[in-house]
């Protein structure tokens, strides 16, 4: 955060305005970060646009393949059917398609779905995103809280049976992929042992339940979110536990903790005011970034539990090469991660006074 000297003001008015804007950006940390975030989003949106089109096959070819595989149609018939159903011009030069996309994006228009023509991508995202935010958001909070409590416990009683046991569990959970946990829950708890009604728990709500601010609806939604949330928590809590343990252990070695002990402060006060507060700081950035990833949902978990969400719609869009929907989903994730990162940068100084002093 080195201060930058203002450049000499140019005589030309436009140039002067640009120079002033540039100076304003260079001299303001917050503005700098915001501009960087916007540039990052633009770059990712551009890359995404071209990358999705580099994927093998286009929406029409995918649909032809589907008709042949699923209904055994002859190629020529499938091709005619697909060509007439998709009202898109894939032969338009790529740069024109790109300019059209960026132009609309600047106006907040993410385009319309190719697969479900006429339906705006924003409509689809608005319909699916809240479910992802609800499910992954709750999971993140539960996992984070559980992880820091257990991590602190492991650090305080390091070397004990509790530490070894929890470390082993944390490492194990940290290393198992979420889709495997999801399948284990379904196959063993649901199918083999019949402990959970997994068939009724599929989806995000029960048939016939009317959405609204009613107890019935809220409880039903929670019922259906149980398995996805358990899966998220189980597969992420290990990471929080191990990180918190490492951070707390390091903090316990700090001089100011020894000094506090020498002063005769109570264990409780040392744990909360001296150790806990400082140990949690490194996790703050990680937590904020995780908030960003909440918007991306989880492709595998939502697919396995047939849970309504961005992940599920992304799978469908990728398999059908629905470019605008794919771009919309990736953009949402990008924007949320970039701005979560920005938020972490901006808030960190307020949380850690040492950084603020440094600034």
């Amino acid at each position: 955060m080195v201060a930058v000297s203002p450049p000499a003001p140019p005589s030309d008015t436009l140039a002067a305005s640009v120079a002033l804007a540039w100076y304003a950006v260079r001299s303001n940390y917050v503005l700098q970060r915001v501009v960087k975030a916007i540039v990052t989003v633009f770059a990712v949106a551009t890359l995404t646009f071209f990358l999705v089109r580099l994927m093998p096959g286009n929406p029409i070819e995918q649909y032809i393949g589907q008709l042949i595989a699923q209904y055994g149609l002859p190629y020529s018939e499938a091709r005619d059917q697909a060509a007439s159903l998709f009202v898109i011009d894939l032969d338009q030069p790529m740069y024109l398609q790109y300019l059209g996309y960026i132009g609309k994006l600047a106006q907040g228009d993410l385009g319309t779905s190719i697969k479900s023509q006429g339906v705006k991508v924003t409509t689809i995202i608005v319909a699916f995103l809240p479910w992802t935010l609800f499910c992954v958001g709750i999971s993140l909070i539960v996992s984070f809280v559980l992880g820091i409590v257990l991590g602190a416990v492991m650090a305080y009683w390091r070397g004990s049976v509790v530490d070894y046991g929890l470390t082993m569990i944390g490492s194990l959970l940290h290393s198992i992929p979420n889709y495997l946990i999801a399948m284990i829950l379904i196959i063993f708890l649901g199918v083999r042992w019949e402990l959970l009604p997994v068939v009724k728990m599929r989806g995000s709500m029960s048939p016939g339940i009317q959405p609204g601010f009613t107890l019935t609806f809220v409880l039903d939604v929670l019922f259906h979110a149980t398995l996805p949330i358990i899966t998220y928590v189980v597969t992420t809590v290990g990471t929080w536990m191990l990180t918190m343990k490492a951070s707390t252990t390091a903090t316990l070695e700090e001089d100011y903790v020894s000094f506090a002990r020498a002063k005769g402060l109570s264990d409780g006060r040392i744990r909360t005011a001296y150790v806990g507060r400082n140990a949690i700081l490194p996790l703050f950035t990680q937590f904020t970034l995780s908030i960003g990833f909440v918007f991306g949902g989880s492709v595998l978990i939502e697919s396995i539990f047939v849970y309504r969400g961005i992940g599920q719609i992304l799978v469908s869009a990728v398999s059908g090469r629905d470019y605008p929907v794919m771009q919309g989903c990736f953009l949402i994730t990008t924007v949320s991660v970039v701005f979560a990162n920005l938020l972490a940068d901006l808030l960190y100084g307020y949380i850690d006074p040492r950084v603020r002093v440094g600034q």
Partner: protein, 593 residues
Amino acid sequence: MTQGFTSGVRRRQAIGLAGAVLGAASGAIPATALAQYGMGAGKAFNGAWPYDMPPTGHYNSYATGNLNLGIYYDLMEMPLGMYYWATGTWMPLMATSWETNVEKATFQVKLRQGAKWSDGSSFGSKDVVNTFMIQKLLNNVVWRYLDRIETPDDYTVNFIMAKPTTTVERYVLRMQIRPSAIYGEWANKVRDIVNKGLTSDSDEWKAVRKDLSEFRPKSQVVSGPFSIDQRSMTEAQLTLVKNASSWAAKNVTFDSITLYNGETPTVTPIVLSKEVDYATHGFPPATEKAFKDLGFRILRPPTYAGPALYFNYAKMPAIAPKAVRQAIAHAIRREIGAAAALGESAEPPKFMAGFSDRLVEKWMTPDQVAKLNRYDYNLATAESLMSGAGYKKGSDGVYVSPDGERMEYEVTVPAEFADNSALAQAVAEQLTAFGIKTAVRLITFTQLTPDTQAGNFQMVIQGWGSGNPHPHFAFVQNLVTWNTPAGAGPAMAYPLIQRVDALGGEVDLDAMVTASAQGLDKDAQKDLIARVALAYNELLPNIPQYERLGNNPAPEGFRVKGWPPVGDPIWENSPYADSFVIMLMLDGTLQAI
């Protein structure tokens, strides 16, 4: 079902009590909601089919992303008829009779009188002609052969052919008829642009097509015995409820059909939980074994298609002599690949005629069938054919062509399809052992079609045969689809003018295949089909490895009874083209318990 539901609620409460605050929610879900909309609604049939929820999914059956629900679509917007593949006869649905007038090149259909749509309006010829008008907008293949459609009265429709062909019968009778109440105005728009003399290249035509694709009816109007209950729809399942006003409603003993949403991985646990009465998903052999262990019956309907070994003639000059391909056919024990791929659900072809063995004796005389070389596994014959063509093995045991081409190749296969990968591996091992060194090249499945069309392969596992009872379509698939004249690229680049000893000279295969579906004289078509089959059998432009059968779990005794025994002619039906499940429901054979 009441008992099952009660235990379900108790289990929900148990989850809550277990401490998961989230799970506690389950206890308070009103029983009425589930009983009314989910499993247990009257006499239910439970199936599975993937679908998209709104706003992506919708009720416009002419647009992509619609909620047509695959085979179950025939129970909603009913077609004119469905086909019995074993007997070559039809089950009349919205049509009651039909005939072809050869002299007038007209296919006349008499419609069911007294049939009603679910909105109370009468079904009639206007609905049929409107449906086909919109199909004209969409360039449906039937309009390659039709000149115009006339409706002499409310229950008669005449399809006048510009290019007479027997295939029009199936195109017309299998068409699901849409209600004029919803689509009538669109048919009028098409009439307007057709009357103006516009074609599908015109802007106005494209604009109507675009508008139609964006049209979203608020609800369904159906002629069949079921319609989607919108309130029942979730990502997990939806329920089709009985449409009592349908003429077919009285034949069907089920009150509702619940369809679970999802592809194979997500549907498998539901099948294992005994909540699905029939599923068409392609289950892997290990899952199939689990179904069998539970006592489920596995139905194996023929799909009339399967994987074949295709060659790229532009990249493998050594494969050009037919003797080499005949040798390869003799050198591969097709049973090995079939068993590795799909176990009992893969049936190696006996006749190697280019279309399903099940159809061969319907289209060819015994004398013609006797002329077909069955290419039984015989290494001595294979080696003799190779040496006869001048091919010799090098010191490493790999064949070298007379032009010096060492026969070392790759066979391309989609990595995600475990059955095709296993087949490719079996083929590669056998060819390598024979002296044609072959490696398996795995690519992602979405790359397969573009790569095949572009000719980016040496050998590839691609489809042969077709889910259409007329062999013409199988030959189109085998000879034209992945070949230079049809595709965007060179594909297999096989010349279709060939000398065929069995036919006594040079023939134009493309012309023969095209002609095999033309005209209204089925005997003449049979003669052409037999000639193409003999040519295919001799030339083997590609080598069919097996015909794929379904492996559809159909657990009996939970909610459903009446599945016909093994050997019943209905099992000859293609599971997608003319679903036997739907036909068995409609004729009352498949019943609710």
